[in-house]
Structure formats: C-alpha cells, structure tokens
Symmetry: C2
Subunit: 402 residues, 2 copies
C-alpha cells in the first residue's frame, strides 16, 4: 500500500528552525494582541542604509533588469578588490566571487571543500545558521566549545587538534564573532593556520563584522603568511552597510581551483541580484567617517546593554570587543522556554522583549541552554527600555520558579 | 608530506561549467576585437521590465533595507496567491514560499525530497542547470530521452516507469519546456501523476514559461486531481516579467510538511531579496494586455527563427509551441566546437552569433552533441541578422569539414 504523501528526506527533517526566527509566530501573536515587541533577537540594524545605496538604485540606468555575470558585476568586483587593498590585503578582482549574501558564500564553500559526510571544525557558540548550511551541504560540524569564562576565546590548539579526523576538510570561524562579540587574537589565528597547514585543511574566516571593533584589533586571515592556498574570506554587505535585505556577499580566496569551482556553482544559479550589486558598488565610496560614526553608535549601545545586564543578579557575560551581539548566561533553567514565555506571558506597560535562545548557537547537544544572545541593534533609548523589560522578565520568571 | 593546497570535493570537481555561459570568455574576447556578438545563447529577454517594477523600486519607502520574512514578504505571498487563483488554481498564501529565483526553488525541493544518492527522473533535453543543482544537492538525475522527431514529447509511460528504482523520489519536468519549447499535453501529465501515485513520488513542475504559449494549451500540474500532496510548482518572475536580474521565484505546494521544511531551509539563508519582492509585488498588477503584447512579440520572433532555420539544408527541428527556445539538430559533428568556432573564427560584416551547444541540456552522455539551443530573445530585426549569420556560419563550417 502506498502512502498519500511522499516522505521527506532526512536533511529536510533534520533541518533546524532558526532559533533567531522560530519564535516569530509568538511575536506576531503578541503584536496582534496590541503588545509592542522590542526585537533583540535578530541582527537587523536600525542604522539607515547609506544614501549612496538608495541613489544608485534609484538612478539605475536600464530598461531591462538583466542577468549579471555569475561571478558578480565586473565593476563591483573591481571596486571591492580596492576595498580589500585599502585594508592592506593583496586582493585582485579575480580572487573574488560575488554571492547571494554571505549565506551562499558559506554554502558554496562548504560544498566545494567537503563531500557529503566530511567534517568542518567550528568554534562554538557560532552563527546559528552554520548548522543549517551544514545540513544542506550534508557536512558534519565538529564543535570546539569556547567558554564564557574565557571570554569565548579558543581553547589551547592541542584540544582543537584532537578533533581532526580523516574526514576533516576545513576549519570555519567568525571574528569578530557572532554571537559572542569576541575578536580572536592574531596568535589564535596563527594557531589555526598551523593546524590547517599540518592537516591540509581549508581555513574559512567569516569576517562580516570586520569594521565592528570597539576594543583591541581585528586581524584578518589574509594577514597570516604562508597559507595562501588554504585561506577563504566569507563576507557580506548586510551588517557593514546596514543592508541586510540586499543579499550581496562574496568569497575571497587566492586559490584558483577553488575560485573556478565557485564560479561553476555560481553559474548554476545564474547570478546574484543585479540591482543590489549596483547599490553595493556605490556604498564602497563611504569613507572612514561613515564607519567611525556607526561604530560610535554601536559602542554606546554595547555599553548600555552590558551595564543593564550587569545589574541582573546571576547573569554571567563578558563585555564584547566587537560585532553587535552579547552572549549572556541567565539564572534560569531553559532559555528556549524563557524566550517564548517573554512573548506569551510577560509584558511591562504593554511591551515585551524578544531575545534569541542560546542553544541554537551550539552544535553540542545540551550546550547553551541557559544562555541567550542579544543583538544590540536598536537605538539607546529603545535598548534601555528593552533591557529593563528583560531584567523585569528574568526576575518575574525566577519568582514563578523558571 | 602535505600538499600546499587542500583538495576540492568530488562535487566541486564534477560541477559542470554552464553550457550557456562557458563560452562567455570567447565572446568577451571577440567583443574586444571589435566584433558585435548576437546573444542567442541565454534566455535574457530584451523586453523592458514593466514600469510598475521600476516605480515600486524607486518609491520603496524605508531608510533601512531590512531582512524580510524567510518565506517571503507577506503582502507579496498574498498577492501571488491571487495570481494563481486567477489562473484557476486553489492556492493560498500559506501554500507559497518565496525563493531567491527559481534556482533556489529547485535546489530546496531537491534537498527536501532527496537524501544524497537519491534519484529524480527528468525528461531530457532539460534546463541545463538541473544538472548543477543535482550535483549541489548530491542527487542523481535519471534522464528520459525525448526525441526531436517526436516533437520532444514524452515517450510512452511504461518506458518511464522502467526507470523507477528504490531510490527514486521525484519526477521533475518543465512545460512549456526549456530548451525545446514543447508543451506537454494533459494526458502526459496524467500519466506522470499516475506514476507518482503508484511509486509514492513527488511531481515537480517547472512552470516558469506558463504564459509563453503560441499554440495549443498549457495545463498546470495543479489542474490534475488526486495528487495534491505530491505536487510542487517551481516558479520565477525572471521570464514572465523580463526581470532576470531580480532573483525572485517561489515554490507552491499543498503539502504542509514540505512547506514547513522549505521554510526551515529558507530560514538558514534568512530571506530572498527584499527590494525586488516589492517590484515583483507591483508587476502582479499587469493585466492580460501585457502578456498579449509580449506573447505576440515572441510569436513573431519564433516564426522568424523557425523560418530561417528551415532554409538551412540538413537542419532538423520542430516548431515550438511555447517558451522562447528552439532546439535544432545541425548538419555538423560537434556543436560545442561549432559554437566556439563561431566566436573565434567566424564573422560576417564584423558580426557573429553566440548559441548554446546542445549537449549541456542532456544527462545522457553523448546525447545532443549535434544540437543547439537558440533563445529568441532579440527583436525581429536583430534576430534576422543573427540567424542569417548562423546560416552562413553553418555553411562555412561544413565547407571546412566540420
């Protein structure tokens, strides 16, 4: 007898709902009840997308919105190479493939480096969607747990090396880190580079928060010598220019065979969005003043969030050095339940706060269950209100025995 | 001893260069030599994208280009459901997931239906990038060869049924067809539906050329009864509204579990491009007059191409009923070599014509080697010149013994 419905694949069943987004139905329902929801759950900045972007879109000169080159618009690749050169990295246009957001950059690189069943080592907590990309690519993530108490820095290299197997093909890390805000030090990158060389691995660096540095210094993987053929930068304009809806990212690598395969992956899907590449090209003209202003604003926000967190008894977290997230341990049992409860059961003056539960940022089962990620992407006034509500929420949740 | 460069995965090595795009370096080189190249190789229409699209983009009211919902903008899903309802299909917004172009719609559905190593039956010749999507998804395509002499219609169902194995999970077809222009008849779809029911398969219908019908009638898979849970429409605005660079497509299905998994795949990559969804939403207001005008123009082009092809001795092709492609057998040995030769060695009045070699539209090794695909996406005057050059090119190539 045949079923009325074909079964879905294992990967479709295993594919996780985004921990950043899975509570959206609850927040929609809260809004329908007239409740204002402060969104600290998603890295969607409120900073205006630069005027240059909008002007480029509005002045786009073509009657037909046509396919672009699979590897990206030539003028954009050229100007993007200059952006990296200005940062001091030796990058030519032919080292760049433009992708449909950072997401596609990661998926393409996972597929190019790994056969189904191969492994990638990733420090955790990590950007939650690495989990989903790995399932889509049939790749296994091998987590290296970083501890809040250690500022979410890497454990000693021998502990990472122990995880290398015959099926390990790459190390993937993000610095400045989402979700912790930690910036890995140069010596940590040198350690990873050494491992990559020793075990013949790719070294993939998600550097989308490169400009978001409040303390210390960001070292790019392109600054580490002697591993040119292994190094991959994964990048995106979403955060840098507050253009998340644009879906423009890229891969940068000096490995010609890899570039060639990425272009072939890219040819299958034809091209990244044309119009937004014109916008992305235009915002490259933003000078240091743009980043200075933006970073000053984010620094104020970080300080606001951190200060209020420190006032909540039982909260453990480190002041982050970069990006725009804080990972905090709360004095509660289960952050998934708490985050949902904030949307279904708690309000203060008819408002509530939405945060991302921590477990989704780990590959290790059971890790991060009492942690949350806060994205400080609202203005300081709203952040103060949102954090105050969170504080009251934690207190109320504890009183009811959560 | 360790290599200086990590090896690429099997899928990266197997990933085909697009047969539509792999000759681009040769055409770029020809252009650099001052030669005008008529592009009949790619389905990039010259029809202007509707003014409504551009106006929606220009009037987009937001200072921040933000993430949209992972399943697509709610207003767009709602209006798109109405578009399908107007066609007579029972579609609600919750049956639709918006994707980053038709490409992502196909990749997501392949991943949702198949584990690595599972199989999908596909009539060939087919849209060439199905090959690439299958490799990206680690899926095997099982081709069913359709013959030019039979108007590229399906062979008898028992021949297709013979190809079903324990690992077959779906049948994927495109009608009106790219690259043949064939419109499958209702009885053919009923036959496929019967197979899908009998063997518990998904039935995926790529209907992006739905409106491009010059003769006969297009039947949607949504018109076939009793297989609701198996049916998937794959769709895109690229061709319908001449907006290829927009990267907006969708999946339509009544299978709730499938929709749920597609949304989870979608959450990993966050969202499709926001701005273009606003444009896509606006063009839905185009009425029948838009399609009537556009289709009349394409019909003239089809007739022009077909007429000139028929004047070339030894060419075999059928007059296509829909889409905007023609698949033709040429009196030459190797269309890959011929297509390259047209760009490197042949000009007429300092102009040449670029066509897509046929082999890339087949999964069967050695099939289609003397066939080409012509996309009739230029205006009639340019098409006449391009086809005249092609005619002269074929004659010259034959004279030199090709």
């Amino acid at each position: 007898m045949v079923s009325n419905s074909p079964r879905l694949s294992g990967r479709a069943q295993k594919m996780p709902a985004s921990p950043i987004r899975k509570l959206v139905p609850l927040s929609d329902a809260a809004k329908e009840r007239g409740i204002k929801v402060y969104h600290l759950n998603i890295g969607q900045p409120d900073i205006p997308t630069p005027e240059r972007f909008w002007n480029a879109i509005k002045n786009y000169q073509s009657r037909v919105l046509a396919y672009g080159h699979s590897e990206g618009l030539p003028s954009y690749r050229k100007n993007l190479a200059k952006y990296y050169e200005n940062l001091g990295y030796d990058v030519r246009p032919e080292n760049i493939v433009i992708t449909t957001a950072g997401s596609e950059a990661i998926i393409f690189c996972m597929m190019a480096a790994c056969a189904p069943g191969d492994q990638i080592i990733v420090p955790e907590p990590f950007y939650t969607n690495y989990n989903g990309f790995a399932i889509m690519s049939s790749v296994e993530l091998t987590p290296v747990t970083c501890e809040a108490e250690n500022g979410f820095h890497l454990p000693p290299m021998p502990e990472i090396e122990k995880l290398v197997t015959e099926r390990t093909r790459a190390i993937l890390y993000c610095s400045p880190n989402n979700p912790t805000g930690t910036i890995f030090e140069k010596k940590e990158l040198v350690g990873l580079a050494e491992l990559a060389r020793k075990h013949n691995l790719f070294l993939m660096a998600d550097e989308v928060y490169r400009e978001f540095v409040y303390e210390g210094h960001h070292t790019s993987i392109f600054e580490i010598d002697g591993i040119e053929e292994r190094v991959i930068i994964l990048d995106s304009i979403s955060k840098r220019y507050s253009a998340c809806g644009a879906r423009v990212g890229c891969v940068v690598t000096k490995n010609k065979k890899l570039i060639d395969s990425l272009i072939r992956f890219g040819q299958a899907r034809l091209c990244p969005p044309t119009l937004e590449q014109a916008g992305a090209n235009a915002v490259l003209e933003e000078g240091p003043e743009y980043f200075r202003t933006t970073m000053n604003e984010y620094r104020r926000r970080r300080d606001t969030v951190y200060e209020i967190l420190m006032q909540i008894p039982g909260v453990v977290c480190m002041k982050p050095s970069g990006a725009f997230y804080i990972m905090a341990k709360l004095p509660i049992d289960d952050a998934d339940k708490f985050a949902a409860w904030m949307l279904t059961d708690f309000t203060y003056q008819n408002e509530t706060t939405m945060i991302a539960p921590g477990s989704g940022f780990y590959a290790t089962s059971g890790a991060g269950t009492n942690e949350i990620r806060i994205a400080y992407v609202l203005n300081v006034e709203d952040l103060k209100k949102a954090m105050h509500i969170l504080k009251l929420g934690i207190e109320a949740y504890k009183r009811r025995g959560g």
